[in-house]
């Protein structure tokens, strides 16, 4: 592994961390798409910067880009506060407008210059190690490593300083206001960090990867935990893992690095989505099936309690009467028997003492609808879950 490869992985990992931190809060605040909006809305900033400086390589362009990013956020917030449209609609209204202002400015004044977001922001991870920072003639490393490093340092300091405020204002705006933190200041602070990170990371790794690194790791972490600190840690781990592993996938396939990292992020999310212990799709399906069986069991017990007649309690009749498929009826019968709720004698089903008490309690609960009634029932009811 040569130094360029190490540097690329280092840059990608730092970008992953720098994106995961604001990304976690964006996902929690349901504003994930703001990073995509910012990456488009910075165009007019770049164009105006070019008109002022006449130089595509001037840092003023990047500063103005970050500033336009913040303007985007302010406008989105303003439109959303009117209460007339929702957050995502406000985002969708603002960034195409800003982007098209940029396009029109180019078309009117600079049609012959290769001027677009790509021309100013490098956005190619493969080339990042070749853009060196020279201080007094000494090579101190790739420029984007320093840019991203500084952004990350500021982000982490702000995170540590304002963790409590961020936490409270993310989950309960009212409480945070009554505690004396202005939710607006925290909001704009977070959004400014997101904007600067987006522009800085855009230069290092490109637009799509920035959006992916902000959202995918945070979304994956969201499915695994409800603890903010753990969510931040998980999001960072997922981001860094995808960055490094994605790089090696690109190495094996000789493919685009950003593309491979983005694919890895997608795979990580898919795996979490499928296998997360409580929110994952498989866990949810399993739970739903259990609940369905429980409800069936209860229906069955109620039926038995209501009918003393033998013909209503005959095994074969149950299949027809309750209209269950045989297999399901069989599994419900087995379950009830296993829990000592019923007895089957000569194909006639009857409730045991335990089953009787249980069913009475259930009826009580259905009539009174008081939670206290069902509390102790849970022990009986969920026996079979263990």
């Amino acid at each position: 592994m040569n130094s360029a490869q190490i540097e690329i992985q280092l840059i990608a990992s730092l970008v992953a961390i720098a994106c995961a931190i604001p990304g976690t809060f964006l996902v929690l605040r349901k504003m994930a798409m703001i990073s995509d909006a910012i990456s488009h809305a910075i165009l007019p900033g770049i164009v105006i910067g070019f008109f002022v400086t006449q130089d595509l390589n001037s840092p003023v362009l990047i500063l103005l880009a970050a500033l336009t990013g913040i303007i985007t956020v302010v406008l989105v917030e303003y439109i959303q506060k009117t209460g007339l449209v929702k957050e995502d609609t406000a985002i969708g209204l603002v960034f195409p407008a800003l982007f098209s202002i940029g396009v029109i400015l180019i078309a009117k004044n600079a049609n012959d210059v290769h001027l677009d977001v790509d021309a100013v922001l490098l956005g190619e991870l493969a080339f990042a190690p070749f853009d060196r920072l020279l201080i007094g003639g000494t090579d101190v490393g790739p420029k984007s490593l320093w840019v991203i490093g500084s952004i990350l340092l500021v982000t982490i300091s702000l995170l540590i300083l304002f963790f409590k405020e961020l936490k409270v204002s993310t989950f309960d705006t009212g409480l945070s206001a009554s505690l004396g933190f202005s939710p607006a200041i925290i909001h704009y602070g977070l959004m400014s960090v997101s904007s600067v990170t987006t522009v800085g990371a855009f230069d290092a790794v490109g637009a799509i990867l920035v959006v992916a690194l902000m959202i995918a790791p945070a979304a994956s972490a969201y499915l695994l935990t409800t603890d903010l600190k753990k969510m931040l840690a998980l999001a960072i781990s997922f981001g860094v893992f995808s960055a490094v592993f994605g790089y090696w996938v690109a190495h094996w396939l000789d493919a685009s690095i950003a593309g491979s990292i983005t694919t890895m992020l997608g795979i990580v999310f898919l795996l979490v989505y499928l296998f997360a212990p409580s929110k994952g799709i498989i866990a949810v399906m399993y739970r739903e099936r259990q609940q369905r069986t429980e409800v069936s069991l209860l229906t069955f017990l109620l039926h038995l309690k209501n009918h003393e007649e033998l013909e209503e309690r005959h095994v074969n009749h149950l299949y027809e009467h309750i209209n269950w498929q045989k297999v399901r009826a069989r599994s419900v019968l087995d379950l009830a028997q296993k829990n000592n709720m019923i007895l089957i004698e000569k194909n006639i089903v009857s409730l045991t003492k335990k089953g009787n008490e249980f069913t009475s309690k259930a009826i009580d609960y259905i009539i009174t609808n008081e939670d206290s009634q069902i509390e102790d029932m849970k022990d009986d009811f969920f026996l079979f879950r263990g």
Binding site: M1, N2, S3, A4, Q5, I6, I8, Q9, S13, I17, N57, N111, D112, V113, H114, D118, A119, L122, E124, A126, F127, P129, F130, D131, R132, L134, D139, A233, I236, S237, V240, F241, V244, Y247, W248, A250, H251, L253, D254, A255, S256, I257, S260
Partner: protein, 304 residues
């Protein structure tokens, strides 16, 4: 945080173990951007250099995306040759920056006399980058390449010089052949309609009027008006054929053909021309000379 940093460190250490086996064996490692330049360096450097191209055949240099393997190629390169004049888009910027971190990067188009180049109407310092379609310019590329190689590898300087001279004789021969071929086409029929403005130098050098559907950059799309205007032009001039380019999607040219045909004039698609990249390596069109002959024959046969 600590966990992540240690995880990173472990991964880096783990991966550091499988080091790249830099295949040095004393030869110069040379990286080129477009296929034309790869062919040129292979002709002049011969067995004395390792020449590797970044862009494959059929890749549009304006829209080239780097892959992971390109990083190692660039890192291990002793000399990087590129065309310049913004042909390689952002890569040019990167290569210019590499110059400052003591790697030799050579923009071959810098060797040309800027006054003879076709410039942009509005911005004085922007030129049409498709210079290799004038063989005289490509000969200057060859001179420059040989000079750079000789400077970097003085022991083989004489061989580079000999290879270059042999190659230039071939290029001269090529120039004569294609001029003869073009002579067989009546002057008023020498109109070349293609997808983008890659053939301006070709037109200027060999007496063709060249009309491109899109501008110089392939990143912009042709508008409806461009298609209509060009369709009228084709009918007025009674042009028999228009051409597809290997590195540009043929959709727009097909739209143009449909538009012309709907106005009652029959225009053929004359064939696929190689513009920004050569054909597949190993075929005749995979070399600069083969590509040029193929293009000229295709154009002349279709327009006759």
């Amino acid at each position: 945080m600590k966990k992540i940093i240690s995880l990173l460190a472990i991964i880096l250490i783990f991966t550091a173990c499988k080091d790249n086996n830099a295949k040095d064996n004393g030869k110069l490692n040379i990286v080129t951007t477009t296929t034309m330049l790869t062919d040129l360096v292979q002709n002049i450097g011969g067995d004395m250099v390792n020449a590797q191209g970044l862009m494959g055949s059929g890749v549009d240099p304006h829209l080239y995306k780097a892959s992971e393997g390109d990083v190692s190629k660039l890192v291990n390169a002793d000399i990087i040759f590129y065309s310049g004049l913004h042909l390689e888009g952002k890569l040019v910027e990167v290569l210019e920056k590499m110059e400052s971190s003591n790697k030799t990067t050579i923009a071959l188009a810098d060797a040309l006399d800027k006054k003879t180049l076709i410039g942009s109407e509005y911005f004085a310092s922007n030129y049409d980058p498709h210079v290799w379609f004038d063989i005289n310019y490509f000969e200057q590329f060859a001179e420059k390449t040989a000079a750079v190689l000789a400077e970097k590898d003085p022991t083989n300087a004489a061989k580079y010089e000999a290879n270059k001279n042999a190659y230039i004789i071939k290029l001269e021969a090529l120039q004569n052949t294609i001029k003869q071929t073009i002579e067989t086409l009546p002057k008023e029929k020498r109109v070349l309609v293609t997808a983008h403005d890659a053939f301006n130098y070709f037109g200027k050098a060999y007496g063709f009027e060249v009309v491109g559907l899109q501008g110089i950059s392939t990143a912009t799309e042709a508008g409806v008006q461009d298609v209509q205007k060009l369709a009228t032009f084709i009918i007025d001039k009674q042009i028999k054929a228009i051409f597809i380019e290997s590195s540009v999607p043929k959709r727009t040219i097909e739209a143009l053909q449909a538009s012309v045909n709907s106005k009652g004039h029959d225009v053929k698609i004359g064939g696929t021309l190689y513009s920004d990249a050569l054909g597949t390596t190993g075929t005749v069109e995979g070399t600069y000379i083969g590509m040029f002959e193929y293009n000229v024959n295709t154009i002349v046969n279709a327009l006759k």
